[in-house]
Amino acid sequence: MITMERNVKNIQPSGAARIRYAFTDVWVLSKRELLHWGGNPWGIMIGWLFPVMMLLMFGYLFGGAMAVPGGGSYFEFLMPGMFAMTMFFGVESTVMAVTTDASKGVTDRFRSMPIHASAVLLGRCMVDMLNSVIGLLVLIVTGLLLGWGWHEGADHALGAFGLLLLLRFSLLWVGIFVGLHATNPHNVSMVQLLVWPVGFLSNVFVDTTTMPAWLGAIAEFNPLSATSTAARELFGNPGLRGESWMSEHALLLAVGWPVLLLAIFLPLAVRSYRRLNR
């Protein structure tokens, strides 16, 4: 025999209660994501170690053949780029998680409950940011151990990390938007394929001046390039400042790009969540 619980939901909670509920919702939904980590610890750890592997591959395997225009160590040039790349690769896990929830009907269940859309999206957001912060820390420690460092003071370095996380935060909303439209995890593999050319078509691994002019121009335009260049500046890592407007205004762009992405994709993501399937 199934017993019923009296409905304790306060139908129209007061302002204060509503805020308290919203906090509980965000916390409960974040905890859910953390439980996912617990259920798949290897997957999570591989996500953190993958950029380290790329770093070693590019730093040591190809690094000998790479020359940094303007001189300096390629490894020092590479590190800021790898940080930006790591922020970018984080999008994959966002897209995958969002698509899985939507295709399994979990998102629909949340949407049929009296919880606010923003609580569901914020929960996603908090945990993905935490994931990226840890990934970033792993890469920082590896870099420091291998001789990378910042040369313009801790305040500039913190500024650079701030810009990197800002990039991640803006891409997160792109990821939520894409994830809500991918309809099934199968399509996500397309997204995962696309991540590579977009990531490589930037100044993460090589300076754009070494590319054919037209390709270099596209690469300069990549938000990843702006953040990488800005981080190189702030860390005092090598990398010739090009003549282009883009590279001369890297700091501005490293803020501008994410803000633009946020302005577009945050509202779109919220709208898609509310109107899923419509």
């Binding site: 017993t3 019923m4 939901k9 306060n10 139908i11 919702d25 399994k104 979990v106 899923l276």
Partner: protein
């Protein structure tokens, strides 16, 4: 909420996907679901059952029309509707990476239960849905029936005024199906109105107080299962043959005796026709078979099944449990 006579009312609800004005979706759905009843929304695949459920649970917006659930307008008071309903969607919507217990605790918390109460309620429901043993296992490892039951439990954490269950037993084995039916019956006893969609006629017949048959996004027949069966005509004369080769011949004979709506089940060598004159037609059939030298395995008079009503009205084969299990 006052004492509304109807827990769900839909008036001429239209919904088309994309930019189309015609075609798949809902083409003017009207429903009146009395409070406290089990209501069966019956229809073949693609009839619009899931679309209707999604609109009534505020997951989709309708193009035209109006609807209330638990007394609240689904278009204008979505938040209030959501605080009064439970939804068990077509695909068990539980988190596969969490355990059964973690799922129920999480949904309890999201339903505003304090932590202790959410845990107690999770344990209670796990017991009631016979999932205690699996409570600590990841739901991804559950069987279809277990997942369904967990999904149902999750939609019952706080008692909903109205519960929507979309094809609750599709893909379940007969035992699991019985369990889910039992759960739905006891919900009704506890005072919840249940809207159930199904492709299984037997399911609607077993559970529902009222049934609407949906086709192409429109209700084409409604009433109690009994009334639907009677509206379809009187009794049916059903003949089962021993050999496949005899079916055609027997069909010709029966067409001469009964009404136009003849059903032939080739897999079972079975034919049925509607008849008005009970004993008269039975005798006629018996002598006609004797004259032609056919020896049927069985001849019976019986009430029509909801399957036959369904096939008759929708022009399509409903999937019956019997057929599926063959």
């Amino acid at each position: 909420m006052g004492a509304h006579a109807y827990a769900i009312q839909a008036r001429n609800v239209k919904k088309h996907y994309g930019r189309t004005k015609e075609g798949p979706g809902l083409n003017g759905l009207t429903l009146n679901v009395p409070a406290g009843s089990i209501f069966g929304l019956l229809g073949p695949n693609g009839a619009g059952k899931t679309t209707a459920v999604k609109i009534l649970t505020t997951l989709l917006r309708m193009d035209e029309g109006s609807a209330t659930v638990a007394g609240y307008d689904v278009s204008k008071e979505g938040h209030l509707v959501r605080s009064r309903i439970g939804l068990a969607g077509q695909y068990a919507a539980v988190d596969e990476q969490l355990t059964g217990y973690q799922n129920l605790e999480m949904f309890g918390r999201l339903n505003r239960l304090p932590k202790g109460q959410a845990r107690r309620r999770a344990e209670e429901l796990l017991t009631q849905f016979d999932l205690t043993e699996a409570a600590g296992r990841a739901v991804g490892k559950y069987s279809g029936g277990m997942r369904r039951r967990l999904d149902l439990a999750a939609s019952l954490i706080v008692s909903p005024d109205v519960l929507f269950v979309d094809e609750p037993t599709t893909g379940l084995d007969p035992l699991a199906r019985q369990e889910v039916w039992g759960a739905i019956r006891s919900l009704k006893e506890a005072g919840t109105t249940v809207l159930l969609t199904t492709q299984y006629l037997e399911e609607a017949d077993q559970l529902a107080d009222l049934v609407s048959i949906l086709k192409d996004g429109r209700v084409i027949r409604e009433g109690t299962p009994e009334a639907l069966k009677s509206s379809f005509g009187g009794d049916r004369l059903e003949v089962t043959l021993l050999r496949q080769e005899e079916v055609v011949k027997a069909e010709r004979i029966l067409r001469g005796i009964g009404g136009a709506f003849v059903l032939v089940d080739n897999a079972a060598n079975r034919i049925s026709v509607p008849v008005t004159d009970r004993t008269g037609s039975l005798l006629k059939a018996a002598s006609a078979f004797a004259d032609s030298g056919l020896e049927p395995e069985d001849i019976v008079l019986r009430r029509p099944t909801l399957d036959e009503v369904f096939i008759h009205f929708t022009g399509q084969n409903g999937v019956s449990n019997k057929e599926e299990s063959r």
